[in-house]
């Protein structure tokens, strides 16, 4: 198989414009003859479904929650980037493009990323027009803040609930189309198989999660916008239901899966509390604008803190190691996520972690300096030039509350500690997956007619995603890319007519889904689905986690292969097929996670370099920074499924060409 990325010719700043001008169109009177399926209604799916419906296509949209408004995108906290240069700090399309490529450690596609930067400004205009209440300054204009890995303020936000507001915006557009009868919305439905006819994607098999009924749905094109696969680790910041099933099923049908080993570990999550933990909670990275990260300088202090004999507030300023400011003076606490995460692990591995459990994993995110600074500023702004210490502290805390109140409350509810008084405890956790289904410039997978958008594809973030860029990508894909590229594809389908769900391909796909469900329900094993999921998570976190090495990866590949055998033999799934059955839902998802987990380890093993979220311990420089190998690994690793044994998957390489950006070592010092 030869990978054709279909990147248009021409100068980077003109590629998308020229390309769009020459794409084929579907005339308005022909659009109602065409059906489109959208799997997933997060930012990517909801925006795509709303756009297609508005253009006049017949749209069927699917999500596993009870409402599209609950897609995982709702949880995004910090913000969304756009190159609007409202703050006059030198931002531009090129700079956003440059930061994203560099942030991704030169493992993303230039043309895709430039397109993303180009449409970013439009996204904000679109959302504001929909009534998304972004934060504003006193002049009534939009406010911005900065995020890790950049030196400009280009992030638009709505308190700590940006994803919620953006998703509700997309959901409202989608709701309008549902109300108008142009979208059939299938809530509580899970796509379990893709149906191909003559090699093209022509429909899906879905399970109605309430009745258990297996349904056939046909269409002229299928768009997968099913989100990321971070839950392969069991513990992650993803919603509990997030899964890889849609992406993995199309992979098994011929779509290549790219860069599966690129997983983003987010530096600011609440540390694990104990063995019953079900998921991890993120504290928005925007907190790094105001918080300073440190651990004790002396090991004895760290030990005393863990033993509960010392409080962080009792550690003198000179005994604190602000290790990010020390190591990376130019970016300080705002280094990119992969850098910040590894630096925390390095300190904890060296014995300076502060969490009082058997992991000892945790560092401090301290707001006391900010409270003083902002308190003073506010007092001065109010004309009080001689504020007392108490006044300063009160004003400083009020400033923090206005900016991050909901996050502080969330932290307090979970940990029972007051972050206004004592530093937050944070530790890195699995957060976002840069890998995903391989797509070309049109966002089409290697299966004709099957497009993939948002976190489910691999295309824009390289080996590491900068903060506030996933929301941007999801909406860019759905509002501004797919409407053009999918129409181009569909232009050849205006005479095809309705696709019958009685075709043998549908019958067969339905049977295979039913067979796998029945197999689980009649398995008579002894262990719960979660038991296996947790074991998979353990292997993944320890051997395919923040740092990986050859030996660990090799072990992981074997251990997961064995786990897979055991899972299919010994899993116990209660209940029936024809009812709401959450254990069955989980079993079907975990089966796919196990196979993907193995592929992640295989992909990590072949990539003999360190870059972004993929840190191979053998490849680091004297200061512990990533050592990329551009000579040999400047490619996208795209895997082709070759049957039951994942070890047989075949690697295809898409060379990455950097014509408009000069590759350099990634330096944040």
């Amino acid at each position: 198989m030869k990978l054709d990325s279909k990147i248009p010719e021409g100068h980077i700043s003109q590629k998308w414009t020229d390309y769009k001008d020459h794409l084929k169109l579907v005339a308005p009177n022909n659009r109602p003859k065409i059906d489109i399926i959208v799997v997933g209604t997060g930012l990517a799916g909801a925006s795509a479904a709303a756009s297609f419906a508005e253009m006049g296509y017949n749209v069927k949209a699917f999500c596993y929650q009870d409402s599209p408004r609950r897609a995982h995108s709702i949880a995004a906290q910090g913000g969304i980037n756009a190159a609007k240069n409202y703050q006059n700090d030198g931002d531009s399309t090129f700079r956003l493009f440059y930061d994203t490529i560099k942030g991704g450690d030169y493992r993303a596609r230039e043309a895709n990323v430039h397109r993303l930067a180009e449409v970013s400004g439009n996204i904000i205009d679109q959302c504001v027009a929909q009534g998304v209440p972004f934060a504003r300054d006193y002049g009534g204009l939009l406010d911005n803040r900065s995020f890790g890995g950049t030196q400009v303020q280009r992030t638009f936000y709505a308190a700590g609930q940006t994803g919620q507001q953006l998703l509700l915006g997309a959901y409202s557009s989608l709701s309008r189309q549902i109300g108008l009868g142009r979208v059939d919305m299938y809530n509580r439905h899970e796509m379990l198989e893709l149906v191909k006819v003559d090699g093209k994607a022509r429909g899906i098999i879905a399970r109605n999660l309430i009745t258990g009924e297996i349904e056939r749905h046909s269409a002229h094109a299928v768009i997968i916008a099913s989100g990321g696969y971070g839950n392969v680790y069991f513990l992650s910041t993803n919603a509990m239901g997030s899964n890889v099933t849609a992406g993995w099923k199309i992979h098994k049908q011929g779509a290549l899966f790219a860069n599966p080993c690129y997983v983003q570990i987010h530096p600011t999550c609440i540390p694990v509390h104990g063995t019953n933990q079900s998921k991890l909670t993120l504290m928005s990275e925007s907190l790094r604008n105001s918080g300073r990260i440190w651990v004790p300088k002396k090991k004895e202090d760290a030990e005393a803190i863990r033993a509960g004999k010392l409080k962080p507030t009792q550690i003198a300023e000179e005994d604190r190691d602000y290790y990010l400011e020390r190591r990376y003076p130019a970016f300080g606490n705002l280094v990119p996520r992969d850098v910040a995460s590894r630096a925390a692990k390095e300190r904890c591995d060296a014995g300076f972690g502060i969490e009082a459990n058997d992991t000892n994993e945790g560092v401090y995110l301290d707001f006391s300096t900010e409270i003083q600074n902002k308190g003073k500023q506010t007092a001065y702004a109010k004309g009080n030039h001689n504020p007392s210490q108490e006044e300063i502290t009160t004003l400083g805390k009020a400033w923090l509350e206005e900016k991050y109140g909901n996050l502080f409350t969330m932290y307090q509810k979970i940990t029972d500690e007051n972050p206004y008084e004592t530093p937050m405890k944070i530790y890195p956790a699995v957060h976002y997956t840069m890998g995903g289904v391989w797509v070309d410039y049109n966002l089409q997978s290697t299966i004709p007619g099957c497009f993939v958008a948002g976190e489910a594809n691999f295309s824009d973030h390289g080996a590491n995603r900068l903060g506030a860029s996933a929301l941007m990508q999801g909406l860019a894909d759905g509002y501004f890319v797919l409407p053009y590229t999918v129409s181009n594809y569909l232009a050849d389908d205006i005479r095809t007519g309705k696709i019958s769900t009685d075709l043998p391909e549908f019958v067969e796909a339905e049977k295979s889904v039913k067979d796998s469900i029945n197999k689980f329900l009649s398995n008579n094993g002894t262990k719960s689905v979660d038991h296996f999921h947790k074991r998979l998570g353990n292997i993944m976190w320890n051997k395919v986690g923040m740092g990986r090495n050859e030996q660990g990866l090799k072990e992981a590949i074997e251990e997961i292969a064995a786990l897979k055998e055991e899972f299919f033999k010994d899993v116990y799934v209660p209940g029936n097929a024809d009812e709401l059955n959450p254990e069955l839902e989980k079993a079907l998802r975990v089966a796919d996670f196990i196979e993907l987990g193995q592929l992640m380890a295989i992909d990590g093993l072949q990539r003999k370099e360190s870059c972004g979220g993929h840190f191979r311990e053998e490849y680091q420089d004297a200061e512990g920074e990533t050592l990329r190998d551009d000579e040999n690994f400047k490619f996208v690793g795209a895997w082709e499924y070759k049957g039951y044994d994942i070890k047989n998957e075949e690697l295809h390489k898409e060379e990455l060409k950097y014509e408009f950006i000069k590759i350099a070592a990634r330096n944040y010092k």
């Binding site: 925006s47 709303a50 929650q65 009870d66 409402s67 599209p68 408004r69 609950r70 995982h72 949880a75 409202y86 439009n122 904000i124 205009d125 679109q126 504001v128 027009a129 929909q130 009534g131 209440p133 934060a135 504003r136 009534g140 939009l142 709505a158 308190a159 609930q161 919620q164 507001q165 959901y171 409202s172 557009s173 709701s175 309008r176 549902i178 109300g179 919305m185 809530n187 919603a239 509990m240 509390h273 104990g274 019953n276 933990q277 079900s278 998921k279 993120l282 409350t409 969330m410 509810k413 979970i414 940990t415 029972d416 500690e417 116990y572 209660p574 009812e579 709401l580 959450p582 254990e583």
Partner: protein, 253 residues
């Protein structure tokens, strides 16, 4: 911080096979629950125990477990989202309970939210209300004016945001003795009423949303204010007042 410890509890949980069959309360014992666990992690633990005993686990709704998706519900000891204010069930932690406690768990109960199974109810009536008018009719083309072309007073933007923060969980309905959805609908109507983008269709919006709300079988608001107290996002009763004003002026047009 109070150090985490393990407690033993007893649970009374509503079990109902599906929307057609009758349900009943069942009692379960659960030991060694860490007080650092969330309420839903406690239910996970119960379900693990039930699966190991080859019994059917309890079905309950949840997804983000961060207090933002609005999927979790649960009526706990007679209160929507349990014994704490300003939170969802997924944010409720077991440190709120004592060793030996009996905890009663029921689904949301409202005519407009039929039970699907055990503790899971159908809240799609909220979606249908939104579909009736909870949007700005702008095309998704991106050919809109520059976002800063219409300055919006910070105060209005903040108020719109506060209304928009509703997560659609339905606690307001569940806790209201009339099963009224006015807080939810009021929040939506307010968000758009406060922003210039939403003004053009304000009349049609409020009329359509209120009509749909009535059709879905939600009760009337008698201003008891229980909804505001149990709302995890602090949505204020002001929004109901604003909706009423919007409705009145729309009806007079």
């Amino acid at each position: 911080m109070s150090a985490a410890k393990n407690i033993n509890i007893s649970l009374q949980i509503w079990r109902q096979k599906n929307s057609k069959e009758k349900g009943k309360m069942e009692t379960y014992k659960l030991n060694d629950v860490s007080t650092a666990s969330s309420f839903l992690e406690m239910l996970d633990q119960l379900n693990e125990q039930l699966v190991n005993e080859r019994k059917e686990p309890v079905a309950f709704d949840h997804d983000c477990r961060e207090g933002i998706c609005g999927m979790c519900s649960l009526y706990i000891n007679g209160r929507a989202h349990g014994p704490d204010t300003g939170i969802t069930t997924c944010q409720l932690h077991m440190r709120m309970f004592n060793d030996g406690d009996t905890i009663v768990i029921e689904p949301w109960r409202s005519a407009a939210f039929p039970v699907i199974k055990d503790l899971i109810v159908d809240r799609t009536s909220f979606d249908r209300i939104q579909q009736a008018g909870g949007f700005v009719s702008v095309n998704t083309s991106g050919n809109t004016i520059d976002a800063n072309a219409t300055p919006i007073p910070k105060e209005d933007a903040d108020k719109a945001f506060e209304a928009a923060a509703c997560i659609g969980c339905g606690a307001c309905v569940a806790t209201c003795k009339n099963g009224s959805a006015m807080l939810f609908v009021g929040a939506k109507v307010s968000q758009y009423a406060l922003l210039p983008q939403g003004r053009v269709e304000a009349t049609a919006r409020v009329l359509n949303m209120v009509r749909q709300m009535d059709e879905e079988g939600f009760g009337n608001c008698t201003n008891t204010g229980a909804c505001e107290i149990e709302c995890p996002k602090g949505i204020s009763l002001e929004n109901i007042a604003r909706m009423n004003r919007e409705f009145l002026s729309a009806s007079l047009k």
